[in-house]
Amino acid sequence: MTAVGAPQERAQLAPLLTEPEREAPVRRPPRVRGTLATGLLYAALAAVTVAFVYPFVWLVSASFKPRSEVFDNRLVPDTFTLDNYVQVWHEAPMALWLLNTVVVTVLATVAVTVSSAMVAWGFSYFRFRGRGPLFGLVLATMMLPGAVTMIPTYLIWDSLGQVGTLTPLWAQNLFGSAFYIFLLRQFFLGLPRELFEAARMDGANQWQVFTRIALPLTRPALVVTALFEFQAAWTDLMRPLIYLRDSSTFTIPRGLKAMLDQFGFGGEWHWEIVVTASVIATVPMIVLFFLGQRHFVEGIATTGSKG
């Protein structure tokens, strides 16, 4: 990405800047000016906001409608009912699916955060032969499409007798993930080295330097890692499709797909059930976003992740 504010640039422009300041006070970025332009800007922002928020509102609203009114596209339900929320627990093992998802998500998040932090620390604090090329290899693995490793990975879990269990959905995270290793390493590199040398002088061993000094200082980046992975693990469909067989082992996205197949297209046409299950699957992510909003936005802005 563009490194901004190079000194040469400023130097070149400096003479231009000093002159006109008196007559025309310096204004902020290319702000659209004038009442009309401002009005247009906010009208556009409001229109886009409606377009982005409306599908949520539609979904939530539909989940409170009886079957016959789901598609009436009314914002406020004509007949308000909580039946769908009762019904959905009867039609599918939603509680079990939620529990499975929580288990997978928590394990995936903790595993990837801890392991990636360790690896990132190894690549940032220590100097050892082969470090450069090896880290290049870490970055290169990010370019590899998942499809290339998907089949042998399945065969590995199959030979370990783990197909059909939740293990393949999270256990690979024990070995770190290239993207998070990259992110955390950037963060570690920004910490002053003297801090760690001083701790070493005071008799701390390598592990203590990592856990007692480096990790606490890296909290914001660890939070970003955990939030990203929490979202990724919670919403993943591909792996549950590959590895899960029995509906009692399903995660929420896999269960949601099963409900769509049964109640949407399976001939039963109970879309109110599908809609309600979609709301239940989505709400935890919305809550997560509002809990960690700042970290999400800053994390993405600084790492340019997850286009």
Binding site: T2, Q172, F175, F210, L241, F296, G304
Partner: protein, 297 residues
């Protein structure tokens, strides 16, 4: 001392080393081998040479899946980039008030892709969907988005544009770091906001634009969940829609529904080569358009 340091370093990176060997290096080599075999998981792999690649060239479904994927990439990636840039510019112009709007734009990104696929079916439904109701209110007779083969991919593109928020955030961060002096200078030269945007902003954030472009291209080539959710059933309720058969979906079916592991491995390698080539071309072409500060001065 040095030796103990090296040992500590290797201990710290050991999780990745093990993971790389087991879950990347070995699988890459093993799919390369499987691609030359016939393998159904139950019986041992049976070496067939280049047979899979020959089959693949003549498989009409591969041609269809490649075409579908290419059409989707060509429609969705530029649309994604333009919409993301437009929204980021709006937020940048709004200045301090942008926080609320940024949240609104980003929220859909949190929605599970399965739910996005379901929303697609509901909102774009030809008869009762919201999109066609809105179109009808301005006198347009909307198409059958989810069943008419011509409109399936445009519908998918429009629905996935809903999750453009991640790219908006990246571009907004780039916009915010364009030095103020450049705008002041452009203004002194008499440039209005349109010319400032076109001649200052866009070149200054071309690095971020390129990044978003590349990442989205790679993602779009592997697009799976939304289309699979909406158009492909599993288990005893099988339905499918040829217009939405993306390459990743066909690969998944071959591997895990038909258990043609050898053939699927060959498909995976073809996908890898296609993505590499496209990315390479993009990097080449980008050298002409992307401006990195501090370069060639």
């Amino acid at each position: 001392m040095r030796r103990s340091e090296t040992r500590a370093a290797w201990l710290f990176i050991s999780p990745w080393v093990v993971g790389f060997l087991v879950f990347t290096a070995y699988p890459v080599l093993y799919t390369a081998y499987l691609a030359l075999t016939d393998y159904d998981v139950i019986n041992d792999p049976h070496f067939v040479g280049l047979e899979n690649f020959r089959t693949l060239m003549e498989d009409p479904k591969v041609a269809l899946a490649l075409r579908n994927t290419a059409v989707f990439v060509v429609m969705s990636v530029p649309a994604h980039l333009l919409v993301a840039l437009f929204l980021a510019l709006l937020l940048n112009w709004a200045g301090r008030a942008s926080g609320f709007f940024r949240t609104a734009f980003f929220l859909p990104k949190m929605t599970p892709p399965v739910a996005v696929g379901i929303l697609l079916l509901l909102l774009f439904n030809g008869q009762s969907g919201l999109i066609n109701r809105v179109l009808a209110s301005v006198g347009i007779d909307g198409p059958a988005w989810t069943t008419d083969p011509t409109w399936v991919k445009p519908g998918l593109v429009m629905m996935t544009l809903w999750t453009v928020g991640g790219s908006v955030v990246i571009l907004l961060a780039a916009l915010r770091s364009v030095p103020q002096e450049l705008y002041d200078a452009a203004r002194v030269d008499g440039a209005g906001w349109w010319r400032q945007t076109w001649h200052v902003t866009v070149p200054m954030i071309s690095g971020a634009l390129f990044f978003v472009f590349i990442v989205n291209t790679i993602h779009a080539f592997q697009s799976f969940t939304e289309a699979y959710t909406a158009y492909f059933g599993s288990g005893n309720t099988t339905y499918s829609n040829d217009a939405a058969l993306f390459y990743a979906i066909y690969l998944f079916q071959q591997a895990f529904q038909f258990l043609h592991m050898g053939y699927a491995s060959a498909l995976a390698w073809l996908l890898f080569v296609v993505i590499m080539l496209v990315t390479l071309v993009q990097f080449r072409v980008s050298k002409r358009f992307v401006f990195y500060e501090g370069e060639q001065r």
